[in-house]
Amino acid sequence: MLKSRKELDAELGGAARAWLDEALAEAAHDAATPDTPGPYTSPPWELRYAAAGRHCGPEHADSARSLLLVEARATLPTVTRLYEQGTAAERRAVLLTLHRLDLGATALPLVEDALRANDTRLVASAVGPYAADHLDPHAWRHAVLKCLFTEVPVAAVARLDDRARGDAELARMLGDFADERTAAGRAVPEDLRTVLALTAPADEGAHRAPPTAAPAAPAPTEEF
């Protein structure tokens, strides 16, 4: 989804490429000599971060912004500021890049904020590799349920199969959710069955029927 500098250069027009060159140089300069922004002002490269959509086009904005974050070696205060001050598109680029920055688990509050949103673009961006690496089991299970509830395809969840495997608590939550939807006469999301099938323990998976045998809603909870 995110393009490399080389791929981006090949797709951008001359003016956009020149603009990105300057923006990346400003970001690199800031990495070497960090600017201290005032309470209401921003270093130059952060204005470029905001303007990337206008200059590179909305289809390349995620990639351009991600390259800027990496080039600036964005720290926690910086990614937090860019997220908090950002449009949904700017927030998305922060979320998509967290795993490429040297932040450890410190940026989790941004992921948690995005998972509280009902803007599905943010929810989908929040469940990438960074969330897979750092969200604790409780928060991760709720993130999966949030995707189901807001109809974000679970294909967006990084390492879903790894983390779901053998997760009996997730299986229980999915079963309860299916029960609740069925009791209310509402449809059970198709993706729920997909995830439920993934929760089978690894050793069982080898001997049992494949995931397609996952029960129709309401899903039984006691089997898992």
Binding site: Y40, S42, A50, G53, A88, E90, D119
Partner: protein, 172 residues
């Protein structure tokens, strides 16, 4: 027929209105930032409002097939409260964002020196960022206010050819 609505405050409208607008043919709109009725007391309150016009509101509109754009500014009424004027310092980073199509609504309310300052500063911001300005005309002493507004715009660095549009608003 496809309709572009150049001035509507969706923040105060329900999702039913989005549906009705789509049914009537509206496919794109501009929401100018303005006074909310309750005066704000800090820049942070403006930032939450601006962020909503750049985040949640466009998402809400997109769910009904409508493209949402906005204009951002310190409005003339609240330009008179010194607690709010630091908004002017933060506007440069907002004016580069996707979806921001003009500086506005700016103009006069009571025609005070503070309003003079905010109007002139924001016309300069529009010129600096290559954006048009959306200008509100005052509800009281409108004719004199309009003449004064035009004079200030003439003195600004906004290019004459793509100069500001003048509009009125029902908000008081």
């Amino acid at each position: 027929m496809r309709i572009f609505d150049p001035h509507i405050h969706m923040t105060s409208r329900t999702t039913d209105d989005y549906r009705a607008m789509y049914d009537a043919g509206v496919r794109a709109l501009v929401e100018p930032s303005f006074w909310l009725g309750q005066p704000r007391t800090s820049p942070a309150s403006f930032f939450d409002y601006f962020d909503a016009l750049l985040g949640w509101e466009p998402f809400r509109a997109s769910q009904y097939g409508i493209a949402h754009h906005c204009t951002l500014a310190l409005n003339p009424k609240e330009a008179n409260d010194p607690r709010c004027t630091p908004v002017l310092d933060a506007l440069p980073r907002y004016l580069e964002k996707d979806g921001v199509v003009a500086v506005g609504e700016i103009g006069y309310d009571s025609m005070t020196p503070a309003e003079d300052h905010a109007l002139a500063a924001q016309l300069q911001l529009a010129a600096d960022h290559g954006l048009p300005a959306l200008v509100h005309t005052p509800h009281r002493d409108k004719l004199a206010g309009l003449h004064r507004t035009i004079d200030v715009i003439r003195e600004s660095n906004l290019p004459r050819s793509t100069s500001s549009s003048t509009t009125s608003t029902r908000q008081r």
